[in-house]
């Protein structure tokens, strides 16, 4: 089992003929992802890494069943690409693109809700159901099957933690990157609910950061969870009012602080790691 995507997920890559799209199409195929098609307006009929390119998503879907899309379209056109995928009926839309205007992000998620699609990102590394399907950009070698679900707002920090878990012999069911922007499709709660229901997931790692109130909202759900949660929150040392790389990572008007998040998580019964590399030890304590 895994959440959101698995070995049967058929994936298309929007923007497959660009540098990033091409590179990650190859990487995803190497991981075993069923990349069934790519899209690139005006380039229909070409191939990338043996994958057929179509002019539009609808054209790709005339030839293939498509369950998920991975979007590498530049920010100014990403809203349109996401709308295209959603309207075509794709149910999982992973938007890797960063620097998308927040008003476009609100529109994308509004449309996705109307059509019943799940949006992962924008500004995410993607999602990996270990050993089954990778949609996104993390290096393949980090992710091996195992009992831990991981959900995070940031990329490299997650790779660090996942690599440490893997090095310590602890694999992952699914690793989900929510995305670093202020407005993203999935919240911690959305993902925790799925991990709670997933029989293979025995414990969850939550990698949060300052800004917003997602972690606080997650705490309310963690209280009710049967599975243990280990959390790490980045940004303890960040000054207020400054964006720490991510559009969402900012303490504004006293809200979204490290202390508030850690307090909420601890009250909810989560184990909170003070430093990122402590996560595997805490997981090991919990699930042996």
């Amino acid at each position: 089992m895994a959440i959101i995507i698995d070995e049967n997920t058929n994936v298309i890559v929007q923007g497959a003929t660009g540098n990033q799209g091409r590179f990650h199409t190859r990487q995803m195929l190497a991981y075993g992802t069923r990349v069934v098609a790519g899209t690139s307006p005006g380039k229909g009929g070409q191939e990338v890494e043996g994958v057929r390119i179509y002019d539009t998503v609808a054209a790709a879907m005339e030839d293939h069943r498509v369950d998920a899309s991975c979007i590498f379209i530049p920010a100014p056109y990403a809203r349109d690409a996401a709308f295209e995928a959603i309207e075509a009926g794709i149910k999982v839309v992973v938007i890797i693109t960063e620097h998308i205007p927040v008003h476009d992000e609100m529109d994308i998620i509004n449309f996705a809700r109307q059509k019943g699609a799940t949006v992962i990102g924008p500004n995410t590394f993607g999602i990996v159901s270990s050993g089954k399907c990778k949609i996104g950009i993390p290096s393949n070698q980090f992710f091996v099957p195992g009992p831990v679900g991981v959900v995070a707002r940031s990329g490299t920090l997650t790779y660090e933690i996942v690599a440490n878990l893997t090095a310590g012999g602890i694999g992952q069911t699914t690793v989900v990157g929510l995305g670093g922007d202020r407005v993203v499709g999935l919240s911690f709660v959305d993902v925790l609910q799925r991990f709670e229901k997933d029989p293979e997931t025995k414990a969850v790692v939550l990698v949060g950061e300052i800004g917003g109130n997602q972690e606080e909202e997650a705490s309310l759900f963690i209280k009710k969870m049967s599975k243990p949660v280990v959390a790490y929150i980045a940004g303890k040392s960040a000054p207020p009012g400054k964006r720490m790389g991510h559009a969402g990572a900012i303490i504004e008007r006293g809200k979204g602080t490290y202390e508030g998040k850690v307090r909420a998580l601890k009250e909810a019964g989560a184990s909170v790691a003070a430093l990122p590399f402590e996560v595997p030890e805490l997981i090991r304590e919990l699930i042996g």
């Binding site: 660090e160 997602q214 790389g245």
Partner: protein, 371 residues
């Protein structure tokens, strides 16, 4: 990008929202001239990108052009809330019957615009009790329709001509929010003055990511010089106050690196997210920015995925050879092309760590060794 108050008011005015009569002045003499032109009592307001100017002495009243000149002389060149005042806005003093609060911002949790209004204006909205705040979420496909405006106005308890004005104003404010890609449009206080509603202040923040399509707006540069340089390279940089320069790849891991340094007793000099897949050239430029801040030590923390370890190593060697690196560099380097990267470093006299913990501890040790 934050707009100065006067810019926000120009924007409002262009959409038909009433603002006090007034003009900018950058000398006391100009302030006197504007006050004379307006006539009667005026208010002289420092133009800085911060709230709470009143408490910091950044807003003064004047009953005559001479008083306005004095007030401007006091404010211009002074420092308010840590920011130097370079210009003032001189405006008519308006009759205040009542102060309201009104803002539209992005609710990340709801993933929708949210309008926040209160009949208790003139103070920080954080200090207003929840039950005195009206919140209204807006569907971006539907917009803020007249019926919603009427309901918000009703919940604010407005009646008569100000209610009509509020019904007119609310959709205008939402149009600004959407059409200008704003993250925040705030009017505090929104003044009930007779039958009118007047925006006595204007706080507008434009989404940086949307500036490419907002060509009509003035440009306001809030970044420090180093932050500007990093931004031009496509990197995220925030200046801090310590002595350990930091570069890592990824916002989360960079924050995690700063946290680790602080945990070990160190003081980071900056946040620098070199991003993923940044090549040798840009990485070298980023290192140069770090050197310009004169740190005690540089900590580089690379967990290579898309970022290649050999690129990072080559960047370090390039900077060392071309401009020299006068301070110790502590490097943690793992991931894609790790072996090549580590070999390049060794050949050029750098030591590489495998564990973030060890590298951070080492950097702190060096930084604090001279104290």
């Amino acid at each position: 990008m934050k707009l100065f108050e006067y810019m926000g008011k120009e924007l409002f005015s262009g959409y038909g929202i009433t603002v006090p009569r007034g003009r900018m002045a950058s000398t006391p003499g100009e302030a006197a001239a504007v006050a004379a032109e307006i006539g009667g009592e005026v208010v002289v307001k420092s133009q800085i990108l911060s709230g709470k100017r009143g408490k910091g002495g950044g807003i003064l009243f004047a009953a005559s052009p001479a008083e306005a000149e004095d007030a401007a002389a006091k404010i211009l060149g002074s420092t308010v809330q840590g920011l130097k005042v370079e210009s003032v806005l001189v405006e008519e003093k308006i009759k205040i019957d009542r102060e309201l609060y009104l803002a539209i911002t992005v609710d990340g949790s709801a993933r929708k615009p949210v309008l926040i209004a209160s009949a208790s204006g003139g103070m920080d909205i954080e200090d207003v009790p929840d039950e005195d705040i009206v919140k209204y979420h807006i569907d971006t496909f539907v917009g803020l329709q007249p019926y919603a405006a009427r309901e918000i106005t009703r919940r604010l308890g407005l009646t008569g001509p100000p209610a009509g004005e509020m019904n007119r104003l609310l959709p205008l404010l939402y149009r600004i929010f959407r059409e200008k890609d704003a993250e925040l449009v705030e009017i505090n206080p929104l003044v009930v003055s007779g039958d009118k509603l007047i925006a006595a202040d204007a706080k507008v923040t434009i989404d940086d990511e949307a500036l490419y399509r907002q060509k009509g707006l003035p440009h306001v540069e809030e970044r420090t010089e180093a932050e500007q340089k990093a931004h031009a390279l496509g990197l995220s940089y925030v200046q801090l106050e310590g002595n350990i320069a930091v570069m890592a790849n990824g916002a989360g891991i960079t924050m995690g690196t700063l946290d680790t340094l602080q945990h070990f007793g160190g003081r980071p000099a900056n946040f620098l997210d070199a991003g993923g897949g940044t090549g040798t050239e840009a990485t070298a430029k980023a290192l140069e920015i770090l050197l310009e801040t004169n740190p005690r030590v540089i900590l580089i923390n690379i967990f290579g995925g898309i970022t290649r370890c050999d690129d990072v190593a080559n960047a370090l060697v390039k900077v060392k050879n071309e401009i020299g690196i006068p301070v110790p560099v502590v490097i943690r380097l793992v991931g894609t092309n790790e072996e090549t990267g580590v070999r390049i470093l060794r050949e050029n006299g750098f030591e590489a760590y495998r564990m973030m913990r060890e590298a951070a501890a080492k950097a702190v040790e060096i930084a604090n060794s001279g104290n």
